[in-house]
Amino acid sequence: MSFWAYLAANRAEVLQHTWEHVWMVALSSGCAVAIGVPAGILLTRRPAWRAWVLGFANVVQTIPSLALFGFLIPLPFIGGIGARTAIVALVLYGLLPIIRNTFSGITSVDPAVREAARGMGMTDAQILWIVELRLAAPVILAGVRIAVVLGVGIGTIAAAIGGGGLGEFIFRGVAMVNHAVILAGAVPAALLALLADGALHLLERRLDWRRGGAP
C-alpha cells in the first residue's frame, strides 16, 4: 500500500496521533518555559550557580532519549507508562536551550542601558520587565524555538513507552518493515516541526527591537 493510500485509509488515526503529539509538545514546552525562563533569570542574579545549573541541563541533554524515557519509568509520581513520563522527559530536554538563552540574552544587555535604568530610579523588577526581558526576548524565543523543534522530534520516541503521538506509526512501521506506515508518522512530525519553527521565527522577528517592530 502506498503512503497516500495508507494516509487516506487511516485519516482518523493520523489526526488523533497528530493531536496527541501537538498536545504533548505544547504542554512540555509550556512547562519548560515556565521553569527555564525563571531559572535563567535566577542565574543572572546568582552567577555562581551558573556552572551547576547549566552543567545539569547539559548532562540531561547528553542522555540518549530512549534511555531517559527508560530511566523515568520506575520513578514515583512522574514516571510510569504513558504520556506523563514522556512529557517529563521532553521538559528536561527543553530546559537547556531555554535556560541558556535566557541567561545569555539578559547578560548581553548593554551595561550602559542597565546603568541608566538604575540611575533613573527603576526598581529591580522594572529593570527586569521593561528593559532586560524585553531586550532579551528575541534570544529567549530562539531558545524556545529550539526546544519546541527538539520536542517534536524526540516526542516520536514517546510511543516506545506508551506515550502515544506520531511515534506510534513509526514504531509500527519499523516492526512491519513498511515504509508507508513509517511515513504516516514521520511526515506529519516533520511538518509539525517546520510549522512550529516558522511560527516561532515570525514571533521572534516581531519582538526584535532592532527591526523597530513591536512597541
Binding site: 538604575r118 540611575g119 530610579g121 531586550l135 532592532r210
Partner: protein
C-alpha cells in the same frame, strides 16, 4: 554652607581594601554647576555615583537635601536626580518619545501630561518633536542621542542633574554647541548640576566652581575664576595642557 544640596562629609569609597575615593569633603550649593575635573581613575565617576546611591560610601557620608544617602530609599532618591552618562544608555527598543517619557510614566503621570512634557523637552533640547518623537535611538546621530539623554534626565523635572562625561563621545563641533546649550539650559532651569569631565576647557565653559580630583583626593576646589588664577602647580599644569 547654607543651601548646600549635596554634601560629601569625609566620604570614602573603597573596594577590597583599596581606596578609590576620599576622604572627600565637598559641598554643592543649590542651583550651582560644579565640575569634577581630573584624569581617568581620579575617582570622579565614583564621587558621582555616591550621590545617587549607585554606590554607598564605605566611611563618612553623602547627604542629599540634608539626608544621608544611606537613609534615602534609593528609588525615590534617583527619581529626583537626572543622570546622564557618556554611553547615554538610551533604551534601544523604545522610541525617543518613550525614552524621554519613561520616568514620568514610572511616576504614574497621566498619558496626556507625559506627551506634552516630552514635546516640551524635545523642543528644549533642540529636537523638533514632529521629526524626532517617533524615531528609534539607532536612527539618531551621536549628538542627537546625547540631547535625548539630557531630555530624558530632565523629564520629571529633578532638582539635581548628574552628568558623567556626557559629551565625551561626540565630535568636537557638536560638542561645543552642546556645552553652550547645556550651560544655558541648566542655568535657566535653576538646576543643581554635578558634571564630571577630564577636559579642562569643558570644565571652564560649564563650571561655576571646579573641583580637581587626583588619585581619589580633592586637590583644588574653587570658583572658575580662582581656578583660572591660582598659582597651584597642579592646576597650572592642567591649564597649560589646554
Amino acid at each position: 554652607m547654607a543651601g548646600a544640596l549635596i554634601q560629601f562629609q569625609d566620604a570614602v569609597y573603597g573596594v577590597g581594601g583599596r581606596t578609590l575615593l576620599g576622604p572627600l569633603s565637598l559641598e554643592v550649593a543649590q542651583g550651582e554647576t560644579l565640575v569634577l575635573l581630573g584624569p581617568s581613575g581620579a575617582g570622579k565617576t565614583t564621587a558621582l555615583r555616591l550621590v545617587n546611591a549607585l554606590l554607598l560610601p564605605s566611611e563618612g557620608e553623602v547627604q542629599v537635601a540634608g539626608r544621608s544617602t544611606r537613609q534615602w530609599d534609593p528609588v525615590r532618591l534617583r527619581r529626583g536626580i537626572g543622570y546622564v552618562i557618556q554611553e547615554i544608555g538610551l533604551f534601544p527598543h523604545l522610541t525617543v518619545e518613550r525614552n524621554v517619557g519613561l520616568v514620568p510614566r514610572l511616576e504614574g503621570w497621566p498619558a496626556r501630561r507625559i506627551r506634552e512634557r516630552v514635546r516640551e523637552l524635545l523642543d528644549l533640547v533642540g529636537l523638533p518633536p514632529a521629526d524626532f518623537a517617533r524615531r528609534m535611538p539607532h536612527e539618531l546621530s551621536g549628538g542627537q542621542r546625547q540631547r535625548v539623554g539630557v531630555a530624558r534626565a530632565l523629564a520629571a523635572d529633578p532638582p539635581i542633574l548628574l552628568c558623567d562625561e556626557p559629551f565625551g563621545a561626540v565630535d568636537p563641533v557638536a560638542r561645543q554647541e552642546l556645552q553652550l546649550e547645556f550651560g544655558a539650559l541648566t542655568a535657566r532651569l535653576g538646576k543643581t548640576v554635578v558634571f564630571v569631565t577630564h577636559d579642562v576647557r569643558e570644565a571652564m565653559t560649564l563650571a561655576r566652581r571646579v573641583a580637581l580630583l587626583e588619585q581619589g583626593r580633592l586637590v583644588f576646589v574653587g570658583t572658575v575664576e580662582a581656578f583660572a588664577a591660582t598659582p597651584d602647580p597642579r592646576v597650572a599644569r592642567l591649564r597649560e595642557l589646554r
